[in-house]
């Protein structure tokens, strides 16, 4: 099976890799590029733990082929903080204890970032439906929703 050569941009950096035609972008990120922040909770697009942003669209990286990233822009959790300064969502997730085990957290943060980019002032209901593609089994979502609400208000003020 011939490998596919891919040139892409990940978190602002130019990246080149060779992948198999049936390899998912999630596997490429985790196994070839060492970016293990995106997690595989299901591999079928049902849990959102592998969420990334692909050309300004929120997607599950388990439902994208590595080959499809050619010429596109990929954003992952590893690119969310700037240096040692956390994104307001990251900060608010910490302050609100919006994570327990933390396995779903990278996916939630990416999804919440996309949500606030498209809707800077969401209602609770909009947050809940906007994040319905991300499963969390620890928190009951309460503190996650509050963290997103708080981050939204901070980001509006900024």
């Amino acid at each position: 099976m011939a490998g596919v050569a891919v040139s892409t941009t990940i978190n602002g950096d130019d990246v080149e890799y060779l992948c198999q035609p049936d390899e998912t972008l999630l596997d490429v990120l985790r196994d070839r590029l060492g970016l293990t922040g995106a997690k595989e909770g299901c591999g079928t697009g049902d849990c959102g733990a592998c969420s990334i942003i692909l050309d300004d669209r929120l997607v599950c990286s388990c439902l994208v082929l590595g080959a499809e990233a050619e010429g596109r822009r990929v954003e992952t959790i590893e690119g969310m903080a700037h240096g040692d300064s956390l994104h307001p969502l990251q900060q608010k997730f910490l302050e609100h204890a919006a994570l327990q085990c933390g396995i779903c957290t990278p996916g939630f943060l990416i999804a919440a970032k996309d949500l606030l980019a498209k809707n800077p002032d969401p209602t609770e209901e909009e947050i809940r439906f906007g994040l319905a593609g991300n499963l969390c089994r620890c928190t009951g979502y309460d503190k996650i929703v509050r963290a997103v609400q708080d981050a939204a208000s901070v980001m509006k003020g900024a």
């Binding site: 099976m1 293990t36 995106a38 997690k39 595989e40 910490l94 933390g102 499963l135 089994r137 979502y141």
Partner: protein, 754 residues
Amino acid sequence: MNFDPRYSGRSFTSVGTRPIRPDGVDKVTGRARYGADFNMAGQLVGRVLRSPHAHAKIRKIDTSKAEKLAGVKAVITAADLPDLTDGDAAMYDILDNCMAREKAFYDGHAVAAVAAVDARTARQALKLIEVDYEVLPHVVDVDEAMKHTAPLLNDAIFTEGLDEKPVKPSNVTKRTQFGHGDIQEGFGQADFVVERSFKTEQTHQGYIEPHACVANVSSDGTADLWVCTQGHFVYRQHCAQLLGMEASKLRVTSSEIGGGFGGKTHVWAEPVALALSRKAGRPVKLVMTRDEVFRASGPTSATSIDVRIGARKDGTITAAEATLRYSCGPYAGMWAEIGAMTAFACYKLDNVKTVGYEVLVNRPKTAAYRAPSAPMAAFAVESAVDELAKEIGMDPVDFRIRNAAQEGTRSSYGPVYGPIGIGPTLEAAKNHPHMKAPLGKNQGRGMACGFWFNFGGQTCTDLNIGMDGSVSLAVGTVDVGGSRASLSLVAAEELGIDYGQVKAVVADTSSLGYNDMTDGSRGTFSSSMATISAARNAIKVLRERAAQTWDIPVDDVIWEKGHAIAKGEKYGNLAALSLKEIAAASGKTGGPIAGHSELVADGAGVSFATHICDIEVDPETGSTRVLRYTVVQDAGKAVHPTYVEGQYQGGAAQGIGWALNEEYIYGKDGRLQNPGFLDYRIPVCSDLPMIDTQILEIPNPNHPYGVRGVGETSIVPPLAAIANAVSNAVGVRMTHIPMSPPRILAAIEAEREG
């Protein structure tokens, strides 16, 4: 060891505050390493071949074609693992579940495994393994499995606990009984008696992180295992015992864990990964798919429960009885037994009897799931309690308050209670604004109580003070929900220093003495006790060093607010020495300063909760919506209140999912129909409202700070609370969990048609 664990009633500086957790930044930046985030040079990919049959004899397994495939480095079957047939029965069962020896007992049961250079080769290799099955009749329903005509899973099993030794084998492995008094007499005194039967379907813990490990066995017999687990010391013991290794030569490192809830208290694929690595002579990474997690890890029991409760007109319960049948999967368990113990634990009863039956079925081995067995029993009992209150004409909260257990009550499972929180949670619920809020059309309110024992157990903790005065705390209980923050608070409290000066880590099995698992809500309870003890031992050393520095007797040195102070007027001119100062001089005063602690944390205080919820039902479709939810629970002492709230909310959410939509669905062929998050429907964000919490603090007399475990009890009341709410909304008693829309609609229609 002269550690006194009794509650002292002290006031706190750090404990009870809400700082950011030490592992937080790594978790929000994607840097935290979970089970599947670890790799080793030269590592192989392990994959497991699983039975497609619910019940089948394995006649023969031919692995020769797979072995010949280029890139395959090892293939194993049960023949490659020790034969424990004549050894410890429990260990035999654990190993048989990891790799079927004679029969495949359920859809998904492991029958062979491969290690290959990549995932694609491993997948191909699995297809080349030929298994000759003799398919046998199967049974998945707990009531069906108890019938004499049911297919037998194991003809060597004869029911234990019967008055007469049975002559025929059975799927019922054991009968257990609890209670006291005379229930016949009790029912004789009753003016009202409610008798009902209930069923609950099997559910899964649903942790988002699939089981994952990297095993590396060297030719010299030493080995490393990186794994997501709730108890790396227990995994070490089990793996070593199953594979005939020396425990101390197997170092197990617990990764960050992406949820467990009881499901990561058992070994599943870890012994397989070690066996593959041993055979291949290379590291092997084995990660389960989501499909494998559902089919072949350990869901909770499916149950069938009969309850009968009698009360006098004045609202006093006179007798209570329950028969509980719990599925165990293919191996003996004690799930009905726990259900039988917890069923009536909330109440003060003169006459009570519970009987449990453990039932084998062709489903995956039952594992613990958050307060295992208690939610189903509470569903049955609390539903019947609501019915009885209604028949008597009493408010359901008042009825429960009247019958609530209290200090001195003989519990339904035997011992007499110390100070407990069931009464206070009920009073708090009664006075909660939620109880008085108006309800709209098609809406119903329900409430219910729950109980869990809480565990203690073996615990070992090290506290090391660096020369700069910072403190590293090495604990052996895996952090599943923020315990490193709680334990750092405890260390800071005891030493009288800032939380920020303490860094807690979970140590591997070679760096610390044995610890029981993080289960039974014991993590913070046990490790905080050991941390307090370790800190006190360190303080003893700190005082000695100060005494040495001052050249005065150590008995004249006290420890206060992070400082050694020379006690008495004669030392008036001696300035207090801070921990930092003593640490800086430690190299000259006798070397490193540390405190260690090894103890059995006994005296875990039992835990009670009361939940209230409002549900709206669409009477045309049976669809439900959770409008409002309130949790009231006793924490003894909330060390980090935010994480205590998190436990309350998380348990409630899992209970809501169980009550409404989650269930294992088997086809007629005995295969699991919904092994994925698409059709195994755990609650999504838009399904839930905010979950309000109220923390009560009734100190546990057996812990220095009064701490009780808080992790599990919150999943006990929701099934019943929601069933009561739905029943109140639609006017029909719901008796089958989950109350999925088709079940609710069918109940409404049946009532309508009379």
